[in-house]
């Protein structure tokens, strides 16, 4: 058991590291220079006359944010590349320099002593060879990925590119909403689907079973976003009769003046419809899976034996079948976690809940990659931990695995 546990934890950590590296590379999609953007927030713009001043400020910010460092522990580049760009070099200038270096020009002939590209580089540039051997540069821990990962472990994901607030602040504001939404949906669908799935599995008539399966697949096929929109239209407006206007309209505006109790109740009333959407979406799938796993147990010999011994149906379910059918159920709910994370993106956007999903979508629209990277890392972390937990529960519930190693 311990060896199994250690192996699983090891694999999970490696997986997380690989994903964190992939996530970190999202920052290469950034079209705009992040240093430029953060300077623009504090009122500095790149203009013709104050270029010297701007470059000084750029160098300061760049060093402060560590943007001049290499992105990974090592870099393999042609040997005419410098090991590091100057912190005062704008990103646009880096692109120009890279283009010249790729054509085989010497780095020293393109820049001045400070490492900044010369204005007349086209006239003075020199070529030594047409191509260069690749050279490996080693940076150690002084690289952007390491620093990002290290601060991420301390729940510090840097500053938001758009409004300059810490990313962790954005996330800790959004996290409670998504956690309460996801947990409620997961618990409710588990509580409803286990008894219902077992009940459906006990049907003997083939006809009945077919109709129910088709019906369940029908429910499973409803797109979440469509269900969410329909519920908004029907239950928060008076369009289809006054009695349908049961729930408060979309959008949560927490006001600090009201009492805590009132605020909790108000949030709950806003969460009913979204939770309902998520539950409906995962419920049908869960019932189908549970039905299948319970049904498989029904065909086993021990069920016949237990029945022959005269054990009642309730005891048969609770003490024998459910226990054996539990193992696949664990997998079902663990797999449900990423589904709920994905569903939360859609539902939160439609219901205007200030949770992680909406934050992610807003950041994607605005190109706020620091937040996107943080959210992707966090949700993969949650998923991996859930899968790990699922494996452990699986081992706990199944003596074959528990006692094997």
């Amino acid at each position: 058991m311990l060896r199994f546990l250690m192996h699983r934890i090891f694999v999970s950590v490696i997986t997380l590291l690989v994903i964190s590296y992939l996530t970190f590379n999202f920052s290469s999609f950034i079209k705009n220079d992040p240093v430029d953007q953060s300077l623009a927030r504090s009122g500095f713009y790149q203009e013709e006359e104050g270029l010297e001043e701007y470059r000084k400020e750029y160098r300061r910010t760049s060093v402060e944010q560590g943007k001049h460092l290499s992105t990974f522990y090592f870099k393999i580049a042609p040997s005419n590349y410098p090991s590091q760009w100057s912190p005062a070099l704008f990103q646009s200038e880096q692109d120009i320099l890279s283009k010249q270096l790729n054509q085989g020009y010497k780095f020293e002939s393109l820049v001045d002593n400070d490492g900044i590209i010369l204005e007349n580089y086209n006239e003075v540039k020199k070529k030594e060879a047409f191509w260069y051997l690749p050279k490996v540069h080693w940076y150690g821990v002084e690289n952007q990925y390491h620093l990002w990962m290290y601060s991420a472990l301390k729940f510090d994901f840097g500053l938001s590119i758009v409004d300059g607030r810490p990313v962790s602040e954005h996330i800790s504001e959004a996290l409670p909403w998504t956690i309460s939404l996801g947990l409620m949906a997961l618990l409710l669908s588990a509580l409803i689907s286990i008894p219902l799935g077992t009940y459906v599995a006990s049907f003997r008539s083939k006809m009945k079973e077919d109709w129910i399966s088709t019906f369940l697949y029908g429910i499973h096929s409803i797109p979440v976003f469509w269900l969410a929109t329909l519920l908004v239209v029907f239950f928060t407006t008076e369009e289809y009769g006054s009695w349908t206007n049961l729930f408060p309209s979309v959008g949560i505006r927490p006001s600090p003046t009201t009492s805590a109790w009132y605020r909790i109740m108000d949030s709950l009333s806003h969460l009913i419809l979204p939770v309902f959407c998520l539950v409906i979406h995962s419920l049908a799938f869960d019932i189908i899976q549970i039905k299948a796993s319970v049904k498989r147990q029904f065909l086993q010999d021990y069920v016949m034996t237990t029945k022959a011994k005269g054990v009642g149906l309730f005891d048969l379910f609770m003490k024998h079948i459910l226990r054996n059918a539990l193992i696949p159920m664990i997998t079902i709910f663990v797999i449900g976690i990423p589904v709920i994370i994905s569903g939360a993106i859609v539902v939160e956007t439609i219901y205007n809940i200030p949770g992680m999903g909406r934050l992610l979508l807003e950041s994607l629209y605005q190109g706020d990659w620091n937040i996107v990277m943080a959210i992707v890392l966090l949700s993969t972390f949650v998923t991996i931990v859930a899968f790990l937990l699922g494996d452990l529960l699986y081992a706990w519930a199944n003596p074959k695995i528990r006692l094997s190693r």
Binding site: S221, F225, T229, I341, T349, L360, L364, I375, T380, F387
Partner: protein, 336 residues
């Protein structure tokens, strides 16, 4: 699952596929993306019928071209309620009750069109757009499934057949992709490649291959030690030949099962992305896109505008799910 639901969904999907391939031949609005806008007849209800003056059809695109993309230069049309002729000119009243004078030589033809599913807020034919939406959904699903099958079968078969370090690396890779929530991965890939049709199916295909790879690996493992596979080895067949000619044909059934359920997922993801504005860009009529444009009208009593696209998504997804379940029962696939 018994056979009636299976046959209904199978025939429904075949009908949709035919509809999708010959979409531009069937639909009334043959312009590119069915984007023939007549704002004067916006938001008309089901079965609305009206008349048009039509320009002479000088469309130069060849048959093969317009059957694929619609007519780039479809003839202009002018909507009218009543008209009278006066020295080589039409004097018409349109649906907004505005008078217009039109040259008879330029618009010689008359045409009447029935909008069976009504018109949207730009006065476009909903029916045409719905059919094109089905076409886009099926097309994206097809491409995504094709990509996922290609990667998944190749990696899964290699992992299962060779075993050892190859197996470990592939399964490791599968676990990494498996751990990222699908929609998140799709979002990131779409943003990296830029919004558009091709980036959706690449994104969805790149996320779904893990299911295929896991399944194919399991199936290959289970038949690897059968006598006929061993016989190929004693006949000194290369392993590539064994995999392609003898192993893969024997696992087609289970692969079809996972392809059907992946098709359903791909359609749902495409619709969701388009609904959120990250998918197919207007004016191309994707089903999710149409929902996004029209859901506001559910409040103003024109719920059918947003109902039919959603119903279509549901029916497509449901059919693929039923198909998958039936095939699963038939091929006796234990775990997908």
């Amino acid at each position: 699952m018994n056979s009636w639901s299976y046959y209904i969904s199978l025939y429904f999907l075949i009908a949709c596929a035919i509809l999708a391939v010959f979409a531009y031949v069937i639909i009334p609005d043959k312009s590119k993306n069915a984007n023939d806008q007549h704002t004067e007849i916006a938001l008309r209800s089901l079965g609305y019928e009206t008349q048009f003056l039509v320009e002479e059809d000088k469309s130069s695109s060849s048959f093969l071209k317009w059957i694929l993309n619609g007519k780039y230069d479809s003839p202009l049309r002018i909507q009218y309620d009543d008209k009278r002729s006066e020295d080589n000119q039409w004097i018409i009243n349109n649906a907004m009750n505005r008078q217009r004078i039109v040259d008879q030589n330029r618009y010689p033809n008359l045409e009447s069109q029935t909008y069976w599913l009504g018109t949207d807020r730009f006065g476009r034919d909903q029916l045409s757009r719905l059919v094109l939406g089905i076409r886009i959904s099926l097309g994206i699903g097809f491409m995504a499934v094709l990509i996922s099958l290609f990667i998944g079968i190749a990696l899964g078969a290699m992992a299962g057949f060779y075993g050892g370090w190859m197996d470990r690396i592939v399964m490791y890779f599968v676990n990494v992709v498996w751990s990222i929530p699908t929609l998140l991965l799709v979002f990131v890939v779409v943003l990296a490649l830029g919004r558009g049709m091709s980036s959706i199916f690449i994104a969805v295909g790149l996320t779904m291959w893990v299911d295929v790879a896991r399944l194919v690996r399991g199936q290959v493992l289970s038949i690897k030690n059968n006598t006929y596979v061993r016989a190929t080895r004693s006949l000194a067949y290369s392993s590539t030949r064994t995999i392609i000619r003898h192993v893969l044909p024997n696992i087609v059934g289970p692969v079809l099962v996972v392809a059907a359920s992946n098709f359903a997922i791909a359609i749902l993801i495409e619709a969701g992305l388009s609904y959120l504005g990250f998918g197919v860009q207007p004016p191309a009529p994707s089903l999710g896109n149409m929902l996004n444009e029209n859901y506001g009208y559910a409040i103003s009593g024109k719920i059918y505008l947003a109902l039919f696209p959603a119903l279509m998504i549901m029916l497509l997804v449901l059919s693929f799910n039923i198909l998958g379940t039936h095939l699963r029962d038939r091929f006796d696939v234990k775990k997908v």
